[in-house]
Symmetry: D2
Subunit: 367 residues, 4 copies
């Protein structure tokens, strides 16, 4: 296979200005959840902290908009403000070029080839941008990641609103292309509704016919699972006999269902506290080497906030994290870019087509 990971550009800390840079300064937290003045906030990029004597330590399991604490065992931890406790030692300094002992490596894998001389059309991604190549690259990437990486999917409910897309995603799970899943209550509700009644919000997922009293279906699905006790129990007792949740549970794929104010129910297992949900999402996100977000602005941006642009592998090499967002709207894509999640690649299409096409393309590889 032609797939090859790009090479990480290691900074040379023996050169100026690094060789003369001071140690990074840590200051103590005084009030719970409040960082000291001049705290350093993390980015999506590899960041190095000068711990003294020329040791520049790379952050692991980082994410943007957090602070860095030095733990008692000397390790550096990337922490949300809300987790700060009095006495925590927080790295300070806002210069990103090393002069305060902090270096943000904002070009970690080299700029992409850019041969646009002078003037070029079509510098922005729109619905008219071609994406055959994105599929082909994804086939290669996902085949690589299935064995050697960790693929995190972030799903909006549209994935289970359509019969073929729902089946295709369940197949991707079964074939090992899904290492973790993040979603909300609605994804699980309508997936269970489809299993119990063949509908989503009362509309049949294939024929689109409105079912009689179909507006009860999602409530009946929730009520049924609440009675059974959990989605897991529903899967194992046969109540939930098809779909995405069943595939995940059967395959022991970890997932987080984060609650939102839009929820009915909720289903058992949905996390009511959004910051607890963030913590659990991050626990999955910080292992991911590829993230694919499908038709969900809320969860895509939440995940984009948590995922750095790199991952340190077991053999201590640094590799990129690939982040794809698939959505119908230029706005969603631009909004993610405006949050600073600059490394996301966008595919502007309907996720129903995307999932079905992706599954078909990967299937050919396997067989």
């Amino acid at each position: 296979m032609s797939f090859r990971l790009p090479t990480y550009l290691h900074p040379d800390f023996k050169k100026p200005p690094f060789d003369a840079a001071p140690e990074v300064v840590f200051k103590g937290v005084e009030h719970t959840g409040v960082a000291p003045l001049n705290y350093h906030a993390t980015s999506i990029y590899p960041e190095y902290f000068h711990m003294g004597k020329g040791e520049w330590r790379l952050l692991r399991e980082t994410r943007m908009d957090c602070v860095v604490t030095r733990e008692k065992n000397g390790s550096l931890v990337v922490k949300e403000f809300r987790h700060l406790k009095p006495g925590d030692q927080v790295a300070c300094g806002r210069a990103e070029d090393g002069v305060e002992g902090i270096f943000v490596n904002s070009d970690p894998f080299g700029a992409e080839a850019d041969d646009a001389r002078g003037f070029a059309f079509r510098t922005r991604i729109t619905r008219e941008t071609s994406f055959s190549i994105d599929y082909d690259q994804l086939y290669d990437l996902l085949d690589h990641e299935r064995k050697k990486g960790s693929i995190l999917w972030v799903l909006g409910p549209a994935v289970v609103f359509d019969r073929d897309a729902r089946n295709a995603f369940a197949l991707l799970v079964r074939r090992g292309y899904v290492h973790a899943m993040l979603a909300g209550n609605a994804l699980a509700v309508h997936d269970v509704e489809a299993s119990l009644f063949g509908t989503a919000l009362g509309q049949e997922v294939y024929s689109k016919q409105a079912a009689p009293l179909g507006h009860y279906h999602h409530l009946d699905a929730i009520n049924r699972i609440r009675e059974v006790g959990s989605i897991e129990k529903g899967v194992f007792d046969g109540t939930v006999s098809t779909g995405v949740m069943r595939a995940l549970i059967k395959k022991n794929v970890p997932y987080v269902l984060a609650g939102s104010i839009r929820d009915d129910g909720p289903l058992p297992g949905v996390i009511a506290d959004v910051y607890t949900a963030q913590d659990q999402m991050r626990a999955l996100a910080c292992r991911a080497t590829t993230v694919i977000a499908l038709a969900t602005q809320l969860h895509a941006i939440a995940t984009g906030n948590m995922v750095p642009c790199y991952q340190v592998t077991e053999d201590n090499s640094v590799r990129p994290v690939f982040f794809y967002i698939v959505d119908m709207s230029e706005f969603a894509v631009n909004k993610l870019a405006n949050r600073g999640s600059l490394s996301a690649r966008s595919i502007l299409t309907n996720v129903q087509d995307f999932v079905v096409t992706l599954e078909r393309g990967l299937r050919k590889r396997v067989s």
Copy 2:
């Protein structure tokens, strides 16, 4: 003023089939949070329950997708599934026409005049639909509601991303056009950021210039308020000297800031548990006589789920609840309609223009 509320069409329960209808059946809850089989789910419409002897009782403070319990004092309460406790008596029956003792009055205020004979163009609301009249009706409506109703605003952060829109909304608060506000962490964060730094996500709210190190601003704003202890304290000690949050707090307007997985921080006062947040949102929503949702799909749909199409006033008359959604996207509007919140009126425009125009139009009235 020309404003007049439409008249409620009271059902005549002395006529068939109501006169021969049975009492509604209540069944006991067995498991916490689980409704009995054949439970009745509420809608946005006025619903009547036959309590016996010809007494058809109208629900108050209802919302869709809940169940109805008969409390020990005999009152009927509209309850989310998650609040059900063993022994609760839940109304059962899915027929909506009275034959099971439940009547859903799905045409409470008469169909709007519809003179489309045979064939008509332009039956759907799009960005090309005129809306001069919507402004004029809103001026009348809001002037009426300011004194005699309760206006609930649901805000997306775009309202505070622009200087003039932010100022205009603060003026609406001060002039009494805002009786309650629902939003998320981001609205408050960027409003406070604008007060402290003049920016939103680091971009100046008037000049659009990127401020130096501006990507620290929203974190600095959160950190500062966490240090102060609350937004309220920040307002009263002068830290927060301008903006929407200040106007609300100064005027004692109740608000709910609901957490989401997208949040940085969060600010003190943001509710982490989304179902607690729902409860508090509903406590405000069930008083509302007019709801206006601006540029937020998440909060607009959440609120749409909670707001019925009618309100029972102090003198026991039934009046409509007006629900406006202002957004840039036909999708957002259609999505709300597809959830069953059918009575929403849509205005397709940028909320920055909407808020500024509305404030200006209302100001003329007052002066």
Copy 3:
């Protein structure tokens, strides 16, 4: 195969009010291009004109927003206002129910089954509406139409901006699924550009790389074809060796390239006069039994205006014309609906995915 055309509901003209209806009145045109007062305007529906003695004549090759003239040979012709000449006899009357001798059959094939009792979610088509079934129905429909109907495609340039979509569409042409094509200058320009340079607007259609001096490519493509004399000559002399235009020309599929004010060039063969272009488009449109419009608002609406909802077949039976619009935007779809082209079915996705998926699905049938 399971495909079956729905049955036409023939009106019974022996019943009231038809049996007592007067003959339709014709009035003479006085000024070129001006219809007489009270002219009747056509719709997309089957319309019958009472010619006397109980003969109700059905319009053929009709379109909306035209008038009906009685020619010297007695035939009825549906004519654009701009083609009216002094002396033309124009049918008058605006009642659609027969009382003026004109009957508009606005429910020609029976309402679709609609079992929505009382209340239903999801009555509008959005990006979240499932469409697996649309593909399956299209496979059946297109297989039927390939042999027994006439499939008219209306193409926006996005179809040729992507390598795989461009190849897939060319395959559809070669396999006989394309009986006629309507498009603009841009479709042909970028198709030829892709053949000559592998780019569209200077961006490679597979790799998305910006080609050096790529902004010259579309001009060079136009200039080259102008030098050669026509796209046809370019195809036959080997200048244009791949793509959609080549496939059409090789297969003798008729097409219209209509000019617009946005054009560079134009290519030879593009029709500069838009009303001449309309006439030529209509000549193809009035034979169509299925129309599929891909990612072009301008051409989709223009074609929608020209295509009635029915076709009279050679054996004088009446069958429906199927009209699909595939687009990314709810707005485009609603806009078509608001023009009165009510019978269009919408698929909200990226046409690149649509064309590739459709070709793959149809290929399986054949093999």
Copy 4:
């Protein structure tokens, strides 16, 4: 007033590489409408051609994607390919830096201040970008241009679909803020329909009520004007008593109504040949110092193709041409950017609000 035009950065042709640059080469056209090999294509930027002896001549009245001919009188003319005649002398060379005698000044007015150090959020214009400042800048700009410049408006029909927006635009015309107007048949049709019937496509422009038989209104409006002979005659005989077209005609503001394949009618005066229409549009566009395109992708892109980023004033100084596009869709804005019309500023809102707000803001200035 604070308005000041930015200063043009004149290239210094005495410096390298200009001082050693050859004369630009001209080659003769052999076939009508076909440029010679290696022709130079124009851009939106100021371009200079070395005519010999150190004379670098600046193009006037240029537009992108054309060629440059040396006329018999020695002048340079920017010409569309379709206007080339055998013998025409066309400038050749594709280097833009002067080494072939052609210099494209792609930074004519200095880069805008860009203080984004390192990393910044919000680099893209979306619906959440603030635009108070755009209004204020437009008030200053339009007041300046009313007297000292030339303001070209490009209108989509949405401007006349709403009563208040239609009235506001007519006021802008009357007050001198409109020096020329480009639109299509639909703008004029619905403007006349509003004057005759108070509707647009049959829907009342204020109340939104569907008028009885309202789908006849636009046809009746067209038919009436065709009978009268022209929109101008309709204005002067009182047939057309309100609206945008009346205001333009009364004020002698030149306009072009370009035909499209979507047209009904057309109205007299609509130009059927799109390339003739382009020529007439360009005749107005090449005088413009500010262009404002409202809710029309077709006409906005067509005009964007014709308008350079600068204008040479009577006193031979070089000033920028300001180009605003107001639309609901990020796609429309990105599409214009992808065509190379890079200097456009975008405002993402509904043009109904935009026009009403603009008129109100400008009115205050005058009074």
